[in-house]
């Protein structure tokens, strides 16, 4: 992997901020987009753009072919057994909302239970909370250990015949900790409970095989895996998607419409109301091509080395404590510095040319559990370098000098 060559693929990485180079360590919030993805989307608008699925003219056919080819590309990438199981949404949040709404309507009633964990992002908590309120169901929370990992005993203890769905992160957005989802899926299925995996923070770092995992739902966003904002995926097993009522309605998702009765389209279109974000969908497929050209194994390997180096260097700083110390992690480091407020640190780091994210990272229950009010989070991508980590570390030292 030639990192300096890879960095050339990302125009924004060469941009000067306030006249100097900028270190982008906020990949957990969104990743940067390679030129090939930007160009492919521009090409679509310049050469292929038309509304899809229902047209009879040449351009509409081209656009439809491009979109459905992208869907097949994505199906292949995650190894879903059919394209009927690959639904396009706006992103992870919408994917979860869709399941909460539709799975809720089909399967959840009074007294039923939904399980989430203490480490979840609000997107994997609030839709369930709201659905439970509406349907008279109860939200239960699996605990985590002090090192940030999921407490498997706590998880197991919550399983009973009232539990109708489990929703768990593949990888924690705050701590980078990777949950043992294969094990969790097996445990859930032993009790005949379906399980949804929030893969938003996992897919930038690893390839996912949904048949291998045998998860019932898997959700993620394009923009965190080097694709455009505005598109994401809901993978769902056909047996569930077929029984779930539509989420949004309108055009595209119908078969026949009359004021007496309207019937719905088949999968996957049943869940895709309105004109799709065709360019963005094609962009996601292009991002997958880009990643596979480099090789996810190589990416994972390098990112792991960055993580090790970053962890080692940061821990040399006194008063610095890492949140989420379990070893099984993606390249994310959340830390706090005793006596320093994360807002102050983040503001000064920004002035010094380093972009990190600070605060509760849309995970307030996790902050409460860890007894903190926020962290400073550095999240690495395969276009980051050891030198950039050195810059972060000396910037953190300077922050300490200025504030303590």
């Amino acid at each position: 992997m030639n990192i300096s060559k890879i960095r050339q693929d990302f125009p924004i990485l060469n941009k000067k901020v306030r006249g100097k180079s900028y270190v982008y360590f906020d990949n957990g919030a969104t990743s940067q987009t390679p030129k090939s993805v930007i160009d492919r989307m521009s090409y679509y608008y310049e050469n292929e753009n038309a509304n899809v699925h229902r047209g009879v003219h040449y351009l509409s056919q081209i656009a439809t072919d491009a979109m459905e080819a992208a869907r097949e590309r994505i199906r292949k990438y995650i190894n879903a057994s059919s394209i009927e199981e690959v639904i396009f949404t706006k992103g992870t949040t919408e994917s979860i909302n869709l399941v909460a709404h539709s799975f809720g309507k089909a399967f959840i009633g009074e007294g039923d239970e939904i399980i989430v964990s203490e480490m979840e992002h609000h997107a994997n908590i609030v839709p369930w909370q709201m659905m439970c309120e509406e349907r008279g169901a109860i939200l239960k929370v699996a605990k985590i250990n002090d090192d940030g990992s999921l407490n498997i005993d706590s998880f197991k203890s919550l399983l009973n015949s009232n539990v109708k769905l489990i929703a768990i992160a593949h990888t924690s957005n705050v701590m980078g900790i990777i949950n043992p989802i294969e094990e969790l899926i097996e445990i859930a299925h032993n009790e005949n409970i379906p399980i949804l995996i929030d893969g938003a923070q996992a897919v930038p770092h690893t390839k996912v095989d949904v048949q291998d995992l045998d998860c019932d739902f898997y959700v993620f966003s394009a923009h965190k895996m080097y694709g455009p904002m505005g598109v994401g995926i809901l993978f769902g097993k056909k047996e569930y998607l077929e029984k779930m009522p539509p989420y949004q309605s309108g055009g595209e998702m119908i078969k026949d419409v009359s004021f007496e009765k309207t019937t719905f389209n088949e999968l996957p279109f049943k869940f895709e109301a309105g004109t799709p974000m065709v360019a963005d969908i094609i962009g996601l497929a292009e991002a997958i091509d880009y990643l596979e050209d480099i090789g996810l194994d190589k990416i994972q390997d390098y990112e792991h080395k960055l993580l090790e180096y970053g962890t080692k260097k940061l821990l040399e700083i006194e008063e610095l404590r890492i949140i989420g110390t379990n070893e099984n992690k993606a390249s994310v480091i959340s830390f706090i510095i005793d006596g320093i407020h994360h807002y102050d640190a983040g503001s000064l780091l920004d002035q010094m040319g380093v972009a990190v994210r600070t605060g509760n990272h849309c995970a307030q229950p996790l902050m409460k559990r860890m007894n903190i009010n926020g962290t400073i989070r550095a999240s690495f991508a395969f276009y980051n370098t050891y030198e950039e980590i050195d810059i972060l570390v000396s910037a953190v030292k300077k922050v300490k000098e200025m504030l303590l």
Binding site: R18, Y343, S347, G359, M402
Partner: protein, 146 residues
Amino acid sequence: MTITEQKQELVEEFEMFDDWMDRYNYIIEMGKDLDGMPEELKTKQYLISGCQSQVWLTAKYNDGIINFQADSDAIITKGIVQLLLKVVEGRTPKELVEEDFSFLDKIGLKEHLSPTRSNGLTSMIKQIKLYALVFKTKEEQSDYKN
């Protein structure tokens, strides 16, 4: 010092700073050195929270002017809060209702005051103006000034 003179003094002070580090060091000093608010007052009632840092604000009407107390859990926010207080403390409701706070742009702290920052400062400015409006309205309605 009038409110205009106070604002001018602040802008001139900040013009002396060559780079961001000097500016920030000054704000950090203000944040560290000045007393904010007594702990007992840092309650939910006076909390104007952002999601990045928290800000507390109290306002009391006293014989035609408003006395404020403010604090924050982040030093930079606290420093900027103290700067703001230099300008608004002891002013009449009318002055504060008419104040547009544009002097903050000239100080080069615009990034901290953008609504998206959610560090509590934008909300605090809104709250100051709200207090001013309430006290001004009360003044106009009755013999409030005694």
